[in-house]
């Protein structure tokens, strides 16, 4: 109870500790979130993603500073990959946001993906709720967009900001394929570089296929020089207003909640099954048999599921 009250009073340490507990699958954290869930939904959650080297952290730093000048409070969740081999990680996004460390109106948390099944979305979703209850006006979730993570981000965000840079060559094609649907606002960072105009044009061309009533804006920025930041912030807010005005906010949050519920069912079910089959031992045992061709994987899975039927 103490932790819960401290969180409600806006104590940073309580929020920080609760996020750790949620990351570590501590049931007490879930209990607290159950009780306080009604207090979430107030913050504008913005996902920020894009290829490595796009300058996401620097851009986040500038967006936060712009919001702070208006007196808004901000939470930042910076996600970096965990090494699949050692389980360790180096989370270096704070380097670009050092000046914000001592700002009482800012809370920055670095998270490793930790490689759990759906771990990113679960822990990130919990961290978003905690910061929402803690009471910030905006929450930025920042992660490298390579594959699944940007989709995970979109599921947690009201607005997804895609950050691109000129000069990525063929990489941009691969990235584009998956991102066009999830980007609500686009930023072309390092816009003073050769090819910035072309990158922006390419994105615009891709967006021509978008037939919904929200045409994602493409904003050129130079994050290190603080150029284009206010304009970008305006786009982010315009998107939120659009969601609200058209009733799509409720729709989007409903969709996201549905995905979250299904995710949680999957995870809980998985934990339950693995728990019932005496942790992972049974699975390991069966895996060995399958590898030795003494058993096939289909029957193995069925035999585990039979135990909980």
């Amino acid at each position: 109870m103490v932790l819960e009250e401290r969180l409600l009073q806006g104590e940073k340490r309580a929020a920080a500790r609760l996020i750790s507990m949620a990351e570590n699958h501590d049931t007490e954290a879930i209990d607290i979130l159950k009780r306080l869930y009604k207090k979430t939904g107030n913050a504008h959650v913005v996902g920020i993603t894009g290829p490595p080297g796009a300058g996401k952290s620097t851009l986040t730093d500038k967006l936060v500073k712009a919001l702070r000048r208006e007196g808004k409070t901000v939470g930042v969740i910076a996600v970096d990959p965990t090494s699949p081999f050692t389980g360790g990680s180096i989370l270096g996004d704070r380097v670009r946001m050092n000046e914000l460390s001592t700002d009482p109106g800012v809370f920055i948390r670095s998270m490793g993906t930790r490689g759990h099944l759906g771990g990113l979305s679960k822990a990130t979703a919990a961290a978003v709720k905690i910061l929402d209850i803690y009471g910030v006006d905006y929450i930025f979730i920042e992660t490298v967009g390579v594959g699944q993570s940007e989709v995970d981000i979109a599921r947690n965000a009201d607005t997804t900001l895609m950050v691109m840079v000129p000069g990525l060559g063929d990489d941009i094609q691969a990235i584009k394929a998956g991102i066009m649907e999830i980007g609500d606002v686009f930023a072309v960072n390092k816009a003073d570089r050769d090819g910035a105009k072309r990158t922006a044009t390419e994105i615009e061309m891709m967006l021509d296929f978008n037939k919904t009533d929200w045409r994602p804006p493409v904003q050129k920025v130079i994050a290190v020089d603080n150029k284009g930041i206010d304009e970008l912030l305006d786009h982010i807010r315009t998107h939120m207003n659009h969601l609200k005005d058209t009733g799509k906010l409720q729709k989007r949050r409903t969709e996201n909640s549905k995905i979250e519920i299904i995710d949680l069912i999957q995870q809980n079910l998985m934990e339950m099954i693995l728990d019932k089959s005496s942790k992972e031992e049974k699975v390991n045992q069966l895996a060995e048999e399958v590898a030795l061709r003494n058993c096939d994987p289909y029957s193995a899975a069925e035999s585990i599921l039979d135990r909980i039927k």
Binding site: K12, R17, N24, I90, G92, V95, N98, T102
Partner: protein, 133 residues
């Protein structure tokens, strides 16, 4: 529950020699820890605020400028003022042996001087955490 140990690696003061800090960051990562790396020129206030927000188990500071007697105790003091008593605070760098007792008295749990194998630091962190793992 098995969870990764979280360590804040910071360089207080103005010196820019971050080879040691980066090597220790990598070594801790390879030992399965989550390392929050904050870079150069960190003030004690920044270090303590970051440590609180990141809810770390350990603060590991590297300093080669000779300002250790000023800056390291300040970190310990600020932690105390914030009533944070469960973070292990360690330091390393060019720090003369004769300064170590003073630093320990001020709340720095251990000082690792040049030539210390990274494994020694890793083991020390694992064995001296102030919180349950």
């Amino acid at each position: 529950m098995d969870r990764p140990i979280r360590v804040l690696v910071a360089k207080p003061g103005l010196d820019g020699h971050d080879r040691g800090a980066k090597v220790i960051a990598r070594a801790l990562r390879d030992a399965g820890m989550e390392v929050i790396y904050t870079g150069l020129r960190q003030t004690p206030e920044q270090i303590v605020n970051a440590a609180i927000q990141e809810d770390v188990d350990c603060i590991s500071m590297s300093i080669l400028s000779g300002a250790h007697n000023t800056l390291l105790p300040k970190v310990a003091e600020l932690l105390k003022a914030e009533k944070v008593e469960d973070i292990l605070v360690i330091g390393g760098g060019v720090i003369p042996d004769e300064d170590i007792p003073f630093l320990k008295e001020k709340g720095i749990a251990e000082i690792f001087t040049p030539g210390t194998p990274t494994t020694v630091t890793i083991d020390y962190i694992k064995e001296n955490l102030k919180r349950d793992k």
